[in-house]
């Protein structure tokens, strides 16, 4: 147990270190802005004086280390800076723009995870049990193609079938505050379905591999030779040992969701953080882009960290690498 605790602590420190390193990278975004940037934010009418004032307001005249510390200090207090958009008239804090959208994205991700995980595990289990059967090969080909094609194609195919040919759902998922959960769920049906398609493909393939790995171990053969019933072998002998890899798979797939959500939110005009980030990039609203990048990166790192720790905790062999 001692060794386990130490390894987990080590991983946590490593994760924290990655987040710190990422924050430096994200911070340097402002550092490498081209010289004409202030002018392009302020518009063509900006005089050299207003440009200089803007640079000063951003703190570009202070030494980078000092600015970084101030920025990180602000982040830790929930101050994400001020948006560039319309800053001449009504300065908007980045937090006000990003945080409500973050809630929407988390909702989308949570519903997707709740739908996709059981389906993926079930399909993965079936494919592993009946491997090399016609079902396995069909699922294999389907998931491979899903992974190889662009997400927007999947999205538009779903829209074509479920919103245009058979108008059961809306092709736009514009949430507004004050909706009931049922209304929200109905609105996000299509984006959830699209995202599910994409991550089920990933999750299912990895689950299949994990279970096949366990099923080929000698103790499973032993259980079979003893005459244990097939389903008993699966649920009592194989599954407990495959659980670690499977939780690992889930965390990895959710990390993948972080990226998938950007394109899907744009397709369905969903008011989430992905859409916010795309708009901010288009308007070169750097503070908003920075905040979104940090949120995405921290989520991604955390999920990968969880996957790592679960893998180590459930498989003591990994403690003694080499």
């Amino acid at each position: 147990m001692h060794a386990l605790g130490r390894t987990i602590l080590y991983r946590l420190v490593l994760g924290l270190f990655s987040i710190l390193a990422v924050s430096v990278v994200v911070f340097s975004a402002l550092e490498f802005l081209p010289g004409d940037f202030a002018a392009s934010v302020l518009g063509r009418s900006a005089t050299p004086e207003t440009v200089a004032a803007f640079r000063q307001e951003l703190g570009l005249d202070l030494p980078p280390v000092q600015r970084y510390l101030a920025w990180i200090g602000g982040l830790l207090h929930g101050d994400l800076g001020t948006s560039f958009a319309g800053r001449a008239y009504t300065p908007r804090p980045v937090a006000d723009i990003v945080l409500p959208r973050l809630g929407n994205t988390l909702f989308l991700a949570a519903v997707t995870a709740a739908l996709a995980t059981p389906i993926a595990l079930f399909l993965g289990l079936l494919a592993a049990l009946y491997r090399n059967s016609r079902f396995d090969r069909l699922v294999n080909a389907l998931t491979l193609s899903t992974i190889a094609i662009p997400e927007f194609l999947v999205a538009y195919l779903i829209i074509l079938v479920l919103a245009v040919k058979f108008p059961l759902f809306y092709s736009m998922s514009s949430l507004s505050p004050g909706m009931t959960l049922a209304e929200k769920l109905y609105l996000v049906a299509l984006p959830v379905l699209t995202l599910s398609f994409v991550i089920v493909a990933h999750m299912m393939r990895m689950t299949r591999a994990a279970i096949i790995g366990v099923l080929s171990s000698p103790y499973i053969e032993m259980a079979r030779l003893k005459g244990t019933r097939p389903w008993h072998v699966i649920f009592r002998h194989a599954l407990p040992n495959a659980l670690g890899p499977i939780v690992n798979v889930i965390a990895f797939s959710l990390a993948y969701l972080v990226v998938g959500v950007v394109v899907i939110e744009v397709v369905f005009v969903y008011p989430g953080i992905g859409q916010t980030m795309v708009d901010a990039v288009r308007n070169r609203d750097i503070p908003v882009v920075q905040a979104c990048t940090l949120i995405f990166a921290v989520t991604y790192i955390t999920l990968n960290l969880v996957a790592d720790i679960v893998a180590i905790a459930t498989n003591p062999r990994l403690l003694h690498a080499r």
Binding site: V262, V263, D285, A297, Y300
Partner: protein, 291 residues
Amino acid sequence: MRADLATKTADTSVRRRSKLLAAAPFAARVAAVIVLIYLLVALFAPLLAPFGEGEVVSEIPYAPPGGAFLLGTDQLGRDQFSRLIYGARNSMGIALATTAISFTLGSLFGIIAATRRGWVDQAISRFVDVIMAIPQLIFALILLSIAGSSIPNLIIIIALLDSTRVFRVARSVAMNVVAMDFIEAARLRGEGLVWIIRREILPNILPTLVAEFGLRFCFAFLTISALSFLGLGIQPPTADWGSMVREASPLIAYGKMSLFIPAVAIAVLTISVNLLVDWFLDKASGLRNER
């Protein structure tokens, strides 16, 4: 013995290649033909396209297919078919350039890290770890917001980000080769590092790198298409499949399916390249097991 093997593969490589293709499974053969067609269309786009890339040829926006316009026109009255053909050239050309740069960088640093080890390896590897801690699309977005969207920026940004993945693959396969006896032998003979890399390491890691090239190409292609679809990649009037999907997307609500033409064009290419890579990997590992 290794030199033996090298001359043998060199002698028969051409003959073997044609034999290999003939023995390839049906799916791989179809995929090869498809990729070839795509390449030819991209190469000869100006000869094949009936109209110019950005030429406004009709007064009717969104004209239906038929007549002079095989696939109809787009929102500005440009010929969709011509734009599709030019799109092949632009989308594939940009993705190829990106992959070429990411490969040169990634495999160069990968091999250097594997041969040098020590602090050089540590420094590059930790740097790559940090880059890879941020999802690639997100990283590309923040870099594009800083640098602004233009084709050279797009190529450089995606190439730099993607080279981290090439680096990891190249480093790990090169590590295995560097540990072999013939490398030690070459070192003891007093061969220089460059000679060792060129004559001993590179030929041994080439199959893996070739397969990786296919996968990285797909990835770059999909990333650039996604960025263009988001309106942040290749900018108008340059024709590109991702932006074509974006431009045609409002029509889907009226049941017009023109957006599926470029979208399916993307999908068919990536699936074909994936199939080819799959088959090549099977074959490459098979060739290695023969001895």
